[in-house]
């Protein structure tokens, strides 16, 4: 029998299939959309097509209370912390960059959340920020990263507001700035927003869809704070943590 953990994010729903040894044996990610129940059932259908699964499923994230399947609900921050501590087993700071939230979590030596903070009421510096820019400039996430890798200089993005940041970028293009420098500026604005949340000390773990899909962002985190790591497929950690939290 396999257990399922689901993290219903604002943009994407992430699922993990976990075996009796608490190891992840499969991953699934799909768009959340407007129907949370449908999004979670897609995950369950995907896993149950090949494996015998057990209920309840273990969930966190937006709208989880609306699901119609038997479930155990968890806080996504507590779940994320559980999974991170399970990997590193030492105190650390976590910066998680998701679709509309950037979270800072301080985990103590016992693996408990000591402190946490979320971005203020603004999505600049999150996945939605990059999605909006990508849509307006008609480029993909992959191209973003390729541009940033080619940058020889950085152009600073000043606007706090995502929409105005796009206007600022269009102005830069009009004035002859090159895309690699602009994208590096966009990436650095995300880094700046993240470190603004709280003081990072000793050891930093960066997680979420953004570092997973934009390796240059992770490199910039390491440039700024040397003792930084990011586990593979880190966007699935909260889903995995949901299962771990409910494992005796």
């Amino acid at each position: 029998m396999y257990r399922i953990g689901i993290d219903l994010g604002s943009s994407f729903t992430k699922g993990v299939l976990v075996n009796e040894d608490n190891a992840i044996v499969d991953y699934f990610v799909g768009r959340t959309g407007f129907d949370f129940d449908k999004a979670s059932k897609k995950v369950i259908d995907h896993f149950s097509a090949q494996h015998e699964i057990e209920y309840p499923i273990f969930t966190c994230g937006y709208g989880r209370e609306k699901l119609t399947v038997p479930l155990v609900s968890n806080s996504e921050i507590i779940a994320l912390s559980k999974a991170v501590f399970d990997i590193y087993k030492k105190p650390c700071s976590v910066i998680d960059i998701g679709g509309q939230d950037t979270k800072f979590v301080k985990i103590n030596a016992e693996g408990q959340v000591d402190k946490f903070k979320m971005n203020r009421k603004c999505a600049a510096g999150t996945g939605s920020f990059l999605e909006e820019i990508a849509f307006r400039l008609d480029i993909s996430a992959l191209e973003f990263n390729e541009f940033a890798e080619k940058a020889t200089e950085e152009i600073r993005i000043n606007s706090f507001c995502t929409v105005f940041a796009v206007s600022e970028i269009i102005g830069m293009i009009k004035n002859g700035s090159n895309m690699p420098s602009i994208v590096l500026g966009i990436y650095n604005s995300i880094i700046e927003r993240s470190f603004e949340l709280a003081l990072v000390e000793d050891f930093l773990v960066v997680t979420g869809g953004i570092p997973d899909n934009h390796p240059m962002i992770l490199k910039l985190f390491k440039d700024k704070f040397k003792n930084t790591e990011s586990p593979e497929k880190s966007q699935f950690l909260a889903a995995y943590g949901c299962v771990l939290l409910n494992t005796k």
Binding site: Q100, V113, K115, F116
Partner: protein
């Protein structure tokens, strides 16, 4: 779906409704029959002096809270903004003036044609500068006199010179009030009003202090509603009578072990303004999380127990300068430290109110200093007292639920 526990409602709500209805009826009668003069006053203005001179006293801030709680503020704020008021300034002001410009008020449900027409306006700057701008708008509109008590902000040490200055200002406005009032100033009446205000404040303090019991018979969401009489009827027998009833009910609850939140497991402190438009849903959410907000900066601010009939002017000045919001962070830290200990607080929620910086105490690092000193964890949520557009509910719920789990894990 998880089952939510039932919240036991306070029986005194009925008496509260009658007390508040009677207050508004007195204002309505004065407005319609002109049997009494009407003064508009700020919520921590010199209410006692005004009541002692026979005025009916109307409080625009109370009206602002009504607009927030009735979830109509969002309808009115854009109107005020279109008339040149910034959406970044006090949303009590913008919603109140916006409603006025649209000639709408929740008081119309109680038979008012509009808000009661002022004969004079009096404000105290002890809260913020906005009250002056707010009242000045109406003074220009109604072409009536406006009087100011100018209290310095961010007071650290309450020096005799500050008290003397404010006490003198209380005396100086009397001749101006007499030009409008139907009664001359009478020191004995003032002393009597000060005594009633003192007694009402002591009862209100005792009401709030019942929350020191575990479990608490009252929570922040109850207190935010039941503070109505101490805000608008301070200095009257009506407030004293009401709080005797409420206190008796709460003491009875303590004796019978009835709690505001069934299964109280965690006790929180709320700093900053209420989210008026979320009062009821937040009350249910915290109850479902077995968490009681047992004390708050907001409700605990209306305790003016320094008032002393033997020395009415100096003690009024002292009471209105001692107020939490007027104080510098150093003094605020002392007050908060004591409250955290007295009410056995497990965690603090700082509501950073976008349009009310003076009621947001997490803007200059106080939250970190207090954590260092008391080890009581905190979270910050971002919203506003009346402008719900500044509040991201889903994000705040994630923060609150995580915080409660974090605190539960510590226990």
């Amino acid at each position: 779906m998880q089952e939510k526990p039932e919240i036991v409602k306070l029986q005194s709500v009925g008496n509260l409704r009658v007390t508040m209805d009677d207050y508004f009826n007195r204002l309505k009668t004065a407005d319609e029959t002109k049997n009494k003069k009407i003064v508009w006053c700020t919520s921590v203005g010199p209410a006692e002096l005004l009541y002692s001179m026979g005025f009916e006293v109307y409080f625009p801030e109370n009206h602002g809270a009504m607009l927030g709680a009735s979830k109509t503020a969002d309808k009115y704020i854009p109107t005020a903004v279109a008339h040149g008021f910034s959406p970044d300034i006090c949303s009590y002001l913008t919603s109140d003036i916006g409603a006025f410009l649209q000639n709408e008020t929740p008081l119309q449900k109680s038979g008012f044609k509009s808000v009661p027409t002022p004969d004079i306006l009096v404000y105290n700057t002890n809260q913020c500068r906005e009250v002056g701008d707010w009242f000045s708008y109406y003074a220009r509109y109604f072409k009536v006199p406006i009087l100011e008590i100018n209290t310095p902000l961010c007071i650290n040490e309450l020096t005799p010179s500050i008290i003397k200055s404010v006490a003198e200002q209380f005396k100086e406005i009397i001749p101006e009030l007499e030009k409008v009032a139907t009664q001359k100033f009478d020191i004995d009446k003032f002393r009597e009003t000060i005594k009633l205000s003192h007694d009402g404040c002591v009862l209100w303090r005792q009401v709030l202090e019942t929350a020191k019991n575990k479990p608490s018979p009252i929570n922040f969401f109850d207190s935010a509603i039941h503070m109505g009489p101490i805000v608008v009827m301070r200095g009257t027998q009506h407030a004293v009578d009401y709080y005797k009833i409420l206190l008796a009910e709460l003491q009875e609850r303590v004796r019978n072990g009835i709690s505001a939140v069934p299964n109280e497991k965690l006790r929180l402190y709320w700093d900053g303004m209420p989210l008026w438009y979320k009062l009821s849903s937040n009350a249910k959410m915290f109850a479902s999380l077995d968490t009681c907000i047992v004390a708050s900066t907001y409700c605990n601010s209306w305790i003016f127990d320094a008032l002393d009939p033997a020395d009415p002017f100096e003690s009024s000045a002292l009471a209105y300068c001692k107020l939490f919001i007027v104080r510098a962070d150093e003094e605020k830290e002392k007050v908060l430290t004591n409250l955290l200990s007295e009410f056995s607080i497990d965690g603090i929620i700082y509501h950073e109110s976008k349009t009310c910086p003076r009621n947001s105490n997490n803007r200059y690092g106080l939250q970190n200093r207090l954590l260092e000193k008391t080890k009581v964890p905190f979270i910050e949520i971002h919203g506003d007292l009346n402008d719900s557009r500044c509040y991201s509910e889903e994000q705040s719920i994630i923060s609150i639920e995580t915080f409660i789990q974090q605190l539960a894990n510590r226990k």
